[in-house]
Amino acid sequence: MRINPKKCVACGNCTYVCPMGAIYIDPLLQRATINRDECVECYACYNGLSKEVLPPATVRFVRRTLANFRVRFEPEPDVCPTTAFEPDKLEWPRVVRRAFSDPRVPHESTGVSGRGTEEVKTNDVTDRVGIGEVGFTIELGRPGIGARFRDFQEMSRALAAVGVSFEKNNPITTLMTNVETGDIREDILNEKVMSAIIEIKVPVQRCEEIIRIVWDVEKRIPTQVVMGVGVRCDEDGEENIVLPILEKLGYDPQRAKTNIGLGRKVIRDLTNAAPVEAFKELENA
């Protein structure tokens, strides 16, 4: 991403909306500037800010004049008043930043947008995590910190060392040069991303062991870790095996994604289905 200095009026709005805090007003240039090493190419600035077309030279003149009277030019907080953001053409390895940071870009390896993995959200179709198994999603980088691939490698190596296997349909796994050791491609190790997920599956008996490994690695890497623990419920829809282990380790889970089991191998053919109407008052709801 770049900011066109001919258009930028240094209003400062973008400095707040950057999830990485990588945009600042350069005091010498008097323009918004991106710290390219910290920028993860998430496009939050380009996609998220509304675009206006105020004339830059006029805005700068008005800003300077108003400042003399201690009056501030204040566009709406989610607007770039002069449409100053322009996407760069990204080359390898920088392109991986966008693939892992801009949720609108589907991962080529899995075809899934967002963080690129279905986890147990489609478990009712894929049977990815079965009875007696635990699927871990170990996410690095959130909230608003980011992580470099060398941090992921630290985690993946520690997990590989105890013989766990990585989920094949996961974007981080596809960037490993050796899934036996957890090594990630060397040319991307310094690339920074918003967040990404390492995904593994182990028998329930190894649940505590894995969590303790994550705790240990988490102390060594300069980012934040958040874990998701995916499990299969029993026939009655209950889950009384993994939750007690988590509670024993001091966790008190509050939130979950619950797959309600409506997925099937064959999606319903709606060719002759009775049409459904959208609610009438959809606009300005």
Binding site: Y16, G114, E118, R255
Partner: protein, 228 residues
């Protein structure tokens, strides 16, 4: 994507936060067949009947989106309002399609209805564990699988600035920055923006359309009067 799993907050803060979403199984090994997009269009159209706060298409956005002005007068124009019809009209590819509800009865009624439809795409509820359990009970569905959020390591319940984290993590892809959340909290405290305006400003950054403006407004009302 884990765009809703790790919303920060205790279970009671999700009282008005139900995300019901559908997605097809995309891997070839899954072997799922059929027209997923048609099923998801039906899913979303039915959702619109249950008064959602937002509908979200992960590829195209939600009910509130950024705007683009072609004239300088756009700077002084009124801001756009949530538009669910645009979400329904824009669905062009199967993916993650979500409906956000702020009332328990609406969410539970929708889940019950969608079970009867037997669409065949996977459906998940992202909320507190108890909320989802209750919705399944009302619909008569045994839960299939659960993904527990273990929360952010070392970020406790009394972390300073926790309301900014609560607002920011409503977009799990990190598109709502913590700095913006803090700015909006300040704007509300200073009465420069209403909680609704501040919530809608943040919502425009959530490209999946799953930001819950009702929950955000409630958090911002607390911020205004100093409730921690």
């Amino acid at each position: 994507m884990t765009n809703t799993l790790h919303r920060y907050g205790k279970a009671e803060t999700f009282v008005d936060d139900y995300i019901v979403f559908s997605l097809p199984a995309k891997s070839k090994m899954a072997g799922q067949t059929g027209d997923a997009l048609a099923a998801q269009k039906r899913f979303m159209t039915i959702a619109s009947q249950y008064h959602p706060v937002s509908l979200g298409d992960a590829l195209h956005g939600g009910a509130l989106r950024p705007t683009k002005s072609n004239s300088i007068f756009g700077h002084w124009g009124k801001r756009n309002k949530p538009n669910l019809r645009k979400v329904l009209a824009g669905m062009s590819k199967a993916g993650t399609m979500a409906a956000v509800f702020d009332k328990r009865e609406n969410a539970e009624a929708f889940v019950k209805r969608i079970k009867e439809e037997e669409l065949g795409v996977s459906v998940n509820i992202s909320s507190s564990i108890e909320n989802a359990k209750n919705a399944c009970k009302v619909a008569g569905i045994p839960r299939h699988s659960i993904a527990y959020s273990l929360g952010f390591e070392h970020v406790g319940d009394n972390t300073p600035g926790k309301q900014a984290i609560m607002l920011s993590t409503m977009c799990g892809h990190g598109m709502v920055s913590i700095n913006l959340a803090q700015k909006m909290m300040s704007f509300v405290r200073e009465n420069r923006r209403s909680p609704r305006e501040a919530a809608e400003a943040m919502s425009r950054f959530c490209s999946c359309g799953i930001f819950n403006t009702t929950r955000a407004k409630r958090i911002l009302e607390d911020v205004r009067i100093g409730v921690k």
